[in-house]
Amino acid sequence: MTGTAAPYALVIGIECHVELATSSKMFCGCAARWFGAAPNTLVCPVCLGLPGALPVPNRRAIELAMTAGLALHCEVPAHTKFDRKNYLYPDLPKGYQISQYDLPLNTAGWLEIAGDDGRPKRIRITRAHLEEDTGSLHHDGRGTLVDFNRSGVPLLEIVSEPDISSAREALRYLESLREILIFAGVAEFRLEEGGARFDVNVSIRFDEGGETRWPPQSEIKNLNSFRALEEAVAYESARLWDEWHAGGDIRTRRTKVTVGWSPERGRTFPQRQKEEVDDYRYFPEPDLVPLSPAPADVERLRAALPEMPVEQRARFVRDHGLSEYDARVLVSDRALASFFEDAVRAAGGEPKQVANWVTGELLRYLKEGNGAVSAAKVTPAHIGELVRIVKDGTISNTAAKEAFAEMWVSGKAPRDVVESKGLAQVSDEVQIRAAVDAVVAENDQAIATYRAGKPQVLGALVGKVMKRMGGKANPAVVTSVLRERIG
């Protein structure tokens, strides 16, 4: 990977296309969840581009796009509109894509990542605009097959400034973006289902004979995984450097090149130079009227924004005293994070104990059962109660784990499980004293050893008392009674 060791600085900007989590498409009522559907079953005259069909924007898509912008600290313009981007390609049935050109829905935002020097770094976001996705093409030996199910799915294109300085920072930027969009309920960001794609602009900058060289960039199109992005950036930046030193046309060329990425070969390949901006012949979409986001609506969406992951993690560490690791695990899933907070409330505090249960037993059982937090029979109130009865000595930690297993299956409250399974531990000193007496009577040798100055024998004696009481004695009480008796 290209890091500090490389003889050049990397300058990276990313365009991220992400499908919005709507039920229906951007401009028609066809279902937006195209992945896995039988070909061409989610299409209508609008998304097939049939003559005379008219688009009507999806209110939810516009709200989600604005929510994304607000979460990314963008400005919301007073006026915005849709434009036609004209180009001919078989995945685009109308011969144009409805997009946004000069008045995007969101402008001038930022998000913060950990920079390569470990310090917080802001990556500026130029714009985030709405457009429609295209159909998908399949190539076989005889030609090209087109499925228009994806055509017209709402797509948010988020364009960063070239503020990213390494492949690692690029990954952190995308991970952060993904987390924010999922948390805000804007997108599901399912890369494996084609729900997000990236175009990455890569250039290198270096000194040569006292002069700064900044040759034209490469645009790597249509990356669909974080891994592809990492590998493609490393490959292409090294290739630019090599081409410069081999005296290639990069030395004289003024414009960027467009390349694709072949994960199989681990290399980029040149692509047809797509149209320049002028060639797209953008003009205002005559079939749609402009949008003027009402300030009241903007404020309503802003108020509905959940706490963002980076802030929530910081708060969990600061207010709950959790480790960075636990905070990261809990905040990886919005439902898990709120489960944790509800459980802390139910426990009346004890956030560390609650976190242990949630990141330990709960997550383990969820993983085994491949289930979602929301579907679990164990509730935050149950975890709160479990923490409380461990703390007040009603049950031991070991018994609590046994109780959890039962709660997981039956959904019963901890106290009911403790009662029905007889898990309560005995703290009653009369019973414990009797058991201690019996153990002391049978272990002269061990007691002599203890008195001779070997306190480590105590553990074995505690174990014998516990065994005698069927493991239900409170070990702290046993230890103190025993010490008192033989000390």
Binding site: S24, N58, H139, G143, L145, S292
Partner: protein, 98 residues
Amino acid sequence: MSTLDRSVVEKVAGLARIELTDEEIERFTAQLSVVLDAVDRLRSVDTSAIPPTASVLPVDNVMREDVVRPSLPLEEVFRNAPGRDGDYFRVQTVLEQR
């Protein structure tokens, strides 16, 4: 006066994937020049006091609710398709992938 030359017409035809003969290029260059000159006359109107607009319609914020409606049955989908292969549209091979 517009100075449209034939290279512009060739370029626009290329973007539209339309093949034109030499004679057509000549003819369209002349015709399009007339159109552009006519549109050019709009520049002489003083618009400094008129707020910019993207639409001539006196409405904005027309939207629909996010509700799924039935899509077309397959036989309707392919009714006018130039080529069908199973449940896909078949088109001429595209050499370069986007």
